[in-house]
Symmetry: D3
């Protein structure tokens, strides 16, 4: 049975739930599992999520048929009530059905960049418009004209977690990198600016095939088995042939190879996923800028988050940040 | 000025050179460099090689124009004489010209497998002919029908050095792996034999683009910057589309992805060049068989070489073998 | 007080338990500990196991004397009833006594190879019978004639967990390796087949002293402090002297040393427990075959288990496999 | 006996030496050693250097007294003649004396930044002048007013080798970093710009005590045993006390600690010499910028050097660059 | 509102608590957090500790104002009663107030060395009194005369956890090291005994600024961001200047540098926190002695603790000891 | 043909050779190889050594029969003359024969401990005599009564190079360790002194089978393939059985296992050759003491050698010491 489209709901967000609330609406579901209840019957255990937070969900009595229709990761329409348990809220589910969310609902369910994607995309076109070499310009245009890919690019997060892990995050991260390059390239006149801009534009585009982001963020099978580095190189392989077919224009002899090299090397070291170490000045530069933006984002998000935690228990240091391999000192360095 | 075709020579091989021999013939040249001679004039330093060995070459007076025509790695016609220097022979060159070797000369210059390539190729077709799945069979045929690629496959070495580093070595190594799989697969009935055979056939085919082997073995720019793993995945990307176009036959849903994954993961670990760790039973199996053949080859070649060194100085142990991270014990384990 | 022999029970297996069942029978016990109950009195916490599964056991009121007689790892006769708690079943114990299980009971308690040990042992004798060198043949016979050792060899698991972790697993793993060698050796004529077969036969025999397998699998003190590599070398030291005493036959000069080297090096690298890296072609070959069988076993057991999990929650990938340092892709690679 | 001041010489530079030239002048000497000549008498072996290059020097007969006066690293007045030996020039020394070079001679002997130090220093004062916090401004002024330290800062290289390894290199590297921060900080509004600028200014100042740069570049004993990270923290410890004494102004509570932390953590990881990992957003940012400039400098210097090597032997790739752990692809990525 | 001094209590220690005890007294508190209770109201979660042990504390209804006054790590006066929960005791708190413990109370709250600090300090003065060099003797005296520092030295633990993690532990560890050096130095006549004794005395003194030990042991911000190695070097920098000012006596040329080097290198390797590897015989010797005492302490404390656990469940091996990277065999090696 | 005994020679030592000396005497030879001379004929290349030093030896014309009789490592009677070549002395050999050195000659050829072996052995017996447990005492006696083993123990070096690499070095190192334990054990009353003394006595005894020391120091095949750790455990396995047979005395239950564990774990970490990590307090203590003596020996030998190098070129630091992974600061730390 196919999932039914759900009616619009005037949403209450998870962050606002109180104990003993009656809840009805569409949510992300993930970690969908069957436990055994106290009387040995199966019960449903899952994580329920919207863009503002997540909570455990339990349905103490569930028909096998209902369970089998539920997605491991996906969307559900839920009725139930909140209950406090061991100091945490959980959602006791009375009714659950798979659902196809409306676009409006998706906006309420998935975390999203604070900036408008179209505005960011226009900025990105602007920076790419400053590429001087006509062949590279034509190649950029092939990508920019690929509407399905650009739509994906505008929505895709930059990562499953870690940094820019929200809808629009990939575009936001790419745009910041282009601005960075635009400001920093003049300090290194021997760096080829055109290659750097194209390399930054393309370096993470394979993520559009690597990540699932129309429900709880996760990896596609393709993402697990190939990865966005190899896939980005394959995507460029196809489009480089298109440039010649579509525009009659030949790319410089080394250009495609050098850009594919940037894509497959931009994680810098094999242990971080690079298929080759960066071996051209531009590949090294791209990997350094990518690292600069990612680590600065993570450090600031952890030590200086946007919302204040009203009462702060952790003292002056955050939890260990996995990606930085350290905890962070929180106080304003110039506080009196 | 293009290099001139050289006349046939009745070759004396380097392993047979004696001091004060007059030498005239075609050789591989590599490490072509300009030193400064005792009177401050440039002199030519290079390595001279044929299939039997190598030696230093020196030309004490060389015109800049002559030098500039010489390849960094390639072939030259040489006249000169051998000279003993510090207990080693070197070749004092009187005349040197770049040359396009005849096929017969190439045979004399590059090390080559002891087995006939056409015979090995027929054996390989035989094993691949036992693939059961029609889609994979069609895919194999696309490769086997690609005459330029198969010609390269028959001649390409398996590596620049290390193991099977001779013309025909890639085919010989691949064929041994197919025989191995043919014998071992029946012990593991859950392993998908078709995928293993295809994976082994394709795993190193990117080496035909990675290696230079029509002169001294080395890497292409493409080999350095992309590598044969990523390139093998791109080659399969193109040919998988061809299967559908050419035969109208659809490959199973996961087949291309799983084979690309085998190709990009067969070096097992990122630090050995794998873009992903092997994540399917067949990918793990292919990586294990590849490792088994490569290490066994290296161990036997080092500890039990075909030609006896007439007087053996090193005692019971070989030099440290880089690829095995150890030296090897030479004596026959059952010698009385 | 010595444990009493228990009467035979018509067994219900743990995988078939339902909530509120009355249970009476012999089980493995492990992790035997004393907790403090809600009223501050000690209560018994332990793991209860048979060959089909395990579950937590609790006895809310236990006399210190009863507790002290219980083994940390061993066998107990138990009466009690099952109870569902937080969606899991646990066994509430009413009566517990240490017990000496009958052979029939042991068969019901410990996981066991699907193959008949005597049949596997006969196959193993067959392969070892093809050893050509009379001295090695005599050495193999010394081991095969050691009835207590061979009895242990037939029952011992190949590992505490990881691969072939069931009764008869060591014999099954060794036999697969001998079959592998039998098929693969002809492809490498320079490999000494006799040494490879003897090396594979002996490589893990020290496990009979390293592992505890007459109750929950674990390590002996000797296994922890010496390990099966060093112990296997000591066992061979004794038996090699026996060959000369018993048969008057001298082993070849290097044979014992080379076999001891295979035993202490077969884990390949120091960080995996090898006392020396493999330094002979046969030692390298044995380590490679051992690795091939172990990793293939683990990959297939994880990705393609014998029993289907009726409802599969984990998506297309398994949990991370510790021994392979990766998760595994489950789908049939040729499924449409 | 103290070294005597040498008279001015109209210098010929080492890069211009021809065989059989008569040479007289002041040079750097390093690696000063005594070999034994063919007749068993000691002879002098050393490296002779000026800002344009280096060559081996030999003096076949040397009085012990003369030898003992020579510095292991330092300056000498030399008379001798060049001689070609094994295709290299060496300097056969007839007379050698330790010497105190004049400032003019030092300019000819040590490699030096292409930019004028005073001009760079003025730029640096300009950027530091934009620091907003009065306490930090006062601290910067304490450093800027320390004439001997600033003189050292203007002359010190940024490293013994690797990057900016020339007189004025430390200032040039620091200035580039300040410009980088000036351009990049606006993209990260949560980063404290004042702390970043101060951190960059101070991060390598300990190098003025770590390096020897008034003769062949090397490390001081203090540099080897303490290092510029710990020493930079000690220097700041002293000057922070001075701020309060000299200006009556208190620095913010955490400011000195946070700046000392930037200094001792800016090498990012313990294995690169960091005494702590960077644990504040600004410490992370400083380490990332430092890395960006150093690696970009090295990559460009290796792949695209200022002076063309007239005939290029190495093919399309440079030698392995130790600091980047790779070789580099040389061709212009957009060359046709 | 400042915490109020608490009245003396006739203490019952945590190790003696029984279920349903009424408790009133002063305790260490740590991990102070706010959970949400079943009715959605905040409740207090914390760890309650005295010198004999620790337990969870809960206060089901707490005013925000009360909560805000509580320290994250510190001391509180508590009234409540013990309750058994899941086999563990927890403290249900009725009333809680921050408190300034009296010296007598502190003695009851924090774990403490079994030896008298004044007696140990007298012994330490005795060993330091055998330093022969007058300059070093004067330097030692500067430290010994610094009453606040020596008071801290007498109370400070040697570590937050791991070894000698109790009040007086730093002094006890340092004293053992001095006794060790006193006994071992005569076996190595070339070792400079004075430097070794001073190095051992100073090597961990920075811990007095690194650790918080007037409540639950933890790190200061200064300890996290600078560490006791760098801080110990800064402390010596100040005191070395004092020697000259106070006594007019010059220290030997290398003495301060060599001692600072011992301090910053005594963790032996960068990955253990050393800012430099030990590079003098005395620095190596100090690091080896420090390692000898720390590891021996940890091994004996784990395998042969002072108090017998009455019933021992873990078998013959302890848990894995993080600092030794292994578990330990407990039995007396000579037990029959 | 067996080597002939050589007549006594009034020896001139290598350190006293001058150019153009006529030399006749017995030397160690190693690295015995055949080069090709300028006229293509084989010539002999080897290293010639006595206890004072080593030098290259060349014999420009050598009969194959003579060459074949020469040992790869061994002793030769040589006639020839010294010649200066490239600032080094080499020995031009006129006549060379293998020779069996007299005991007196061996003393002149191999480096030797400064202490008398019998005196050291008596001291060692003294310390072992303080072992309290009668079983361990009997075990020690079994070893001490094994005259061939004790003779080897008195002569064996402690290592091929690195530390105590001279005849008698193993005994000297073992004795120092026993003295260390004797002084340090009282500081750790929970350490079992008997086990520590026995463990130290036995820990390196396998070196008597691992090392060749009756000519140039090197490893036996057994040493390479088994190593002194495993071999020491096997030696103890045999002797423990002897204790029971010879003295009727039973060793404590765990004693042999615990001592074998000390032997196979005393290199501390797998990457340094330990077959298991040390897992008992005594095993950890033995490994720590062994490390303390070895590293202190190496540091002092490098930084403060017995003989002054008359003119010191290396500045204040030694070469990098491989075993310490650092160079060393040479100056006396208290020099004015």
């Amino acid at each position: 049975m196919p999932p039914i489209p759900s009616a619009g709901t005037s949403r209450r967000f998870i962050k606002d739930f109180e104990p003993s609330d009656y809840i009805s609406g569409v949510f992300c579901i993930s970690n969908t599992q069957l436990g055994r209840t106290k009387n040995g019957k199966p019960f449903l255990k899952a994580i329920i999520r919207d863009k503002t937070g997540e909570m455990p969900g339990r349905m103490w009595s569930i028909e096998p048929d209902v369970f089998r229709r539920l997605p491991a990761e996906g969307f559900v329409e839920v009725e139930g009530e909140t209950q406090a348990y061991q100091g945490e809220l959980q959602l006791i589910i009375h009714r659950i059905e798979p659902v196809e969310p409306t676009p409006q609902q998706l906006v309420e369910l998935l975390p999203v960049s604070a900036r408008d994607p179209e505005e960011m995309f226009a900025e990105l076109r602007g920076v790419l418009g400053t590429i001087a070499h006509p062949g590279l310009k034509a190649l950029a245009q092939i990508y920019l004209d690929d509407a399905p890919l650009m739509d994906a690019f505008k929505r895709c997060p930059a990562a499953k977690s870690m940094h820019h892990a929200y809808l629009g995050g990939l575009l936001e991260h790419t745009l910041t990198l282009l601005h960075l390059a635009d400001r920093v390239c003049p300090l290194y006149p021997k760096i080829n600016r055109d290659i750097v801009l194209m390399g930054l534009f393309l370096h993470d585009l394979g993520k559009t095939r690597e990540l699932i982001y129309d429900r709880a963020f996760s990896y596609t099978d393709r993402g697990e088995l190939l990865g966005h580095l190899v896939d980005g190189a394959i995507m460029l392989h196809d489009r480089a042939q298109q440039v010649m077919r579509a525009t009659g224009q030949r790319l410089p002899r080394h250009a495609v190879l050098v850009l594919q090299h940037i894509i497959i090397s931009h994680h810098d070291k094999p242990e971080f996923g690079a298929a080759k170490p960066p071996m051209t000045p531009e590949a090294i530069f791209v990997a350094l800028l990518d690292n600069l933006d990612a680590k600065t984002f993570i450090a600031l998000a952890a030590a200086r988050p946007d919302r204040d935690t009203p009462i702060d228990f952790g003292g002056n240091f955050t939890e260990r940040q996995w990606a930085l391999d350290t905890k962070l000192f929180r106080p304003d360095p110039l506080a009196e």
